[in-house]
């Protein structure tokens, strides 16, 4: 089915330090019809690049030098346009935002089927049944932009399902999905009568034993092996094993603060559909103290990001109050006390160098002399493994996440909300970021779908169940 031989790929101008270093080096891979294979690789190891090359999207849309050969069903892939593979091979991208095109969920699922000229009766039934299978039928007319990250991923999976191509290439398909939907996707992969190539770096324990062949992609080299050997090798290269919780360093004494939200009620309608029942989230009692790490978990679309936006003062709540050290706190005060690290680091990065990016945050701190400011920037960059002269826009995704965390670290907020930090960086890197943010006494609210990560790092957990935020004590 896929025959890859001596494949190498180098991005033109990929970062400053790694410029001209190949992302993929001399890869050989044979994928047989009906096979399901798992390729493990740490974030930024070249998984997405390989997935896109297999779908004829790279180097067509991204400048780079491709060497070697790749054939699909006996044809050289570089002689084909991506549209020729639409009904034969479907890619599920790691970041759903990259692939969404249309303004309603139904149109999103319909678009590739329209391209394939599927007759209308079949087209309509395929759209409805795919949305139904991924429990998005109530969202048919909703704009994908208004969905949560997990719902968007389900929408992409519904598109893949509706096309029904014999080959699925899935780049971190389990990311953003909650436990229920991860299990659902795994059962779909196991049931699939065709070829499935999954690229992954997380949730290994959930899908062990589900694939026919296992590979490790590390430093551009692909290694085959049995499951045990590949998983062990992957653990070694990406530090996937957690340190036990006790290794979260003891936080030295700092000013102690508390953030308490009581009887919060958050209501917001979806703009694209009229609904008599707008989205509602109730938070009877949410509290966090300095130095604590608290996980906020819940199914896709349950309102984790919505609550976070209210806690850091970006959005108002309909009722209820938030207090900081027992004193009521308005939105402006919250914004200066609670940092929110968005899932997408690019929202906050805009300057040409890491130095300027870190320095920009300090420009409203008049008490800092120029020399102190420079020292602080240098120290922060070192702590987060950044080079001050690097250009953020050309840095890898993981490095941009480090920079985003460094920007907030330098601001020294009493509390931080960290949204899906573990997506796109290794567990070790995520763990280190949380440790650094906490090292100055900050309380951390961690949003994650990864229960193993939450268990190993958080002392308490808040869950969102049927629109209500409740505390769940962890028994560790």
């Amino acid at each position: 089915m896929f025959e890859i031989s001596g494949l190498s790929f180098t991005y033109r101008a990929y970062g400053t330090a790694a410029e001209h270093a190949p992302v993929l080096c001399n890869l050989d891979l044979t994928v047989h019809e009906g096979q399901s294979i798992l390729i493990l690789g740490a974030p930024d190891s070249g998984k997405s690049t390989l997935a896109r090359i297999m779908c004829a999207l790279v180097p067509r849309f991204v400048e780079g030098d491709l060497e070697g050969s790749i054939t699909f069903q006996g044809e050289r892939i570089d002689s084909r346009g991506p549209w020729e593979l639409t009904d034969r091979c479907t890619l599920v991208a790691q970041n759903p935002q990259e692939q969404l095109l249309m303004t309603t969920c139904a149109d999103e699922v319909a678009f590739p089927l329209e391209s394939l000229g599927v007759r209308r009766e079949r087209l309509v039934s395929s759209v409805h049944s795919a949305l139904h299978r991924w429990e998005l039928d109530r969202m048919m007319e909703v704009n994908p932009q208004e969905l949560s990250g997990g719902e968007r991923k389900r929408l992409l999976l519904a598109v893949t399902d509706a096309i029904g191509a014999p080959v699925w290439v899935m780049d971190e398909p389990f990311d953003d999905l909650d436990e229920f939907w991860r299990a659902h996707l795994l059962s779909e992969i196991e049931k699939k009568e065709g070829t499935v190539i999954v690229f992954a770096s997380r949730y290994l324990e959930e899908f062990r034993g589900s694939f026919d062949a296992y590979y490790l992609l590390d430093q551009g080299v692909l290694t085959a092996g049995d499951e045990e050997a590949i998983v062990l090798a992957f653990d070694r290269v990406s530090d996937v094993q957690f340190s036990v919780k006790s290794t979260l360093e003891h936080v030295p004494e700092h000013d102690s603060h508390t953030l308490v939200a009581q009887n919060l009620s958050i209501v917001h309608p979806r703009r694209s559909v009229s609904s008599t029942e707008p989205f509602t989230l109730r938070t009877p009692d949410f509290r966090i103290a300095s130095g604590e790490v608290v996980a906020l978990v819940g199914p896709n679309g349950s309102g984790k990001s919505t609550l976070s936006r209210v806690l850091c003062g970006l959005d108002p709540s309909a009722t209820g109050s938030i207090s900081f050290d027992t004193a009521p706190c308005d939105r402006r005060m919250l914004r200066s006390r609670v940092g929110y690290l968005f899932q997408n680091p690019d929202f906050g990065i805009f300057l040409p160098t890491v130095r300027e990016e870190l320095g920009w945050s300090l420009r409203h701190v008049p008490a800092l002399a120029e020399e102190q400011r420079e020292q602080l920037i240098e120290k922060t960059a070192r702590l987060f493994h950044l080079s001050c002269e690097d250009n953020p826009t050309t840095m890898s995704y993981g490095a941009r996440k480090q920079l985003q965390a460094a920007v907030y670290y330098i601001l020294n907020r009493p509390f931080y909300i960290v949204d899906e930090l573990d997506s796109g960086v290794t567990y070790a890197a995520a763990f280190e970021i949380v440790s650094l943010l906490r090292s100055r006494g900050a309380g951390i609210v961690l949003i994650t779908h990864d229960s193993a990560f939450a268990r190993n790092i958080a002392e308490r957990t808040y869950t969102i169940d049927n629109g209500v935020v409740k505390e769940r004590r962890l028994n560790v």
Binding site: L101, A110, R120, V124, P144, S274, F342, D346, F347
Partner: protein, 257 residues
């Protein structure tokens, strides 16, 4: 890259077929530049504004005015200065500042600008983008041209959405124990990095959009099928006829010829 301009609401504007609505909007936009009385122009704007209010609520309906407020202020301040005819209304010393004709011309200019803004906005608010695409194609535009137009319609609000997210991110970064009000100059300076980041974000999304379009089959030789079909309640001919009659009646009521 999918920020829709569609706003869910109620009323007759949602029931009208996308093709007849497009014809009506085009005819009224053309009519705005024909010799129509000042009262006619304000009646047109008032009518469209009331429709928008009824369809989407006052908070939503007022948004376009807020968006173009700056341009309206500039028009109000500077366009009277270029009109020297008519009775003098305002003098500073010997210097004539405002004439009656300048006021009339300003009123016509503002009414035209508001009418066109609201006509086009109401169309995209009340018509799903897929229907807009189908309407363009019904009028003979090729699929690719219609797709480019609808993508363009979506791209502008996408940048606006990214801008809001980036603004939020920057608001959290800049609120460093800063409880006082920022000066206008500081606020203006804060917009520049936000705009820069939004533009970088938007530019980065272009190759991904192209990638996704081709991966989803754009460029194939098969004739495209269509998930959506336009349906005109009461018949398309009747709706098209009404779309022609409304501007015609309006013309006879308010023409100055």
């Amino acid at each position: 890259m999918t920020t829709s301009t569609f706003v869910a609401g109620r009323g007759i504007v949602y029931l009208l077929d996308a093709r007849s609505k497009l014809l009506l909007v085009l005819l009224l936009c053309i009519e705005v530049f024909l010799p129509i009385s000042q009262i006619g122009l304000w009646v047109l704007f008032g009518g469209v504004f009331l429709l928008a209010w009824h369809a989407t609520g006052f908070k939503q309906a007022i948004q376009p005015i807020r968006s173009i407020a700056f341009i309206l202020v500039v028009m109000t301040l500077f366009s009277p200065l270029t009109d020297r005819d008519g009775t003098g209304l305002l003098f500073i010393g010997e210097r004539l500042i405002l004439t009656s004709e300048a006021v009339t011309n300003l009123s016509v200019l503002v009414a035209r600008f508001l009418s066109i803004t609201y006509l086009c906005t109401l169309y995209v608010w009340t018509t799903p983008m897929a229907d807009v695409n189908l309407a363009f194609r019904w009028y003979g535009l090729g699929y690719h041209a219609a797709l480019v137009l609808t993508l363009a319609f979506r791209f502008i609000p996408f940048i606006a959405d990214s801008f809001r997210m980036i603004q939020d991110s920057h608001a959290l970064r800049t609120s460093v124990e800063f409880e006082g009000r920022r000066s206008r100059r500081q606020r203006l300076a804060d917009i520049i990095p936000t705009v820069t980041a939004a533009l970088v974000f938007a530019l980065k999304s272009i190759p991904y959009t192209a990638m996704s379009l081709e991966h989803r089959g754009l460029g194939r030789r098969e004739k495209r099928s269509s998930f959506r079909q336009l349906k005109a309640r009461g018949g398309l001919f009747t709706q098209l006829l009404v779309s022609v009659m409304i501007p015609t009646v309006f013309w006879f009521l308010f023409t100055t010829l």
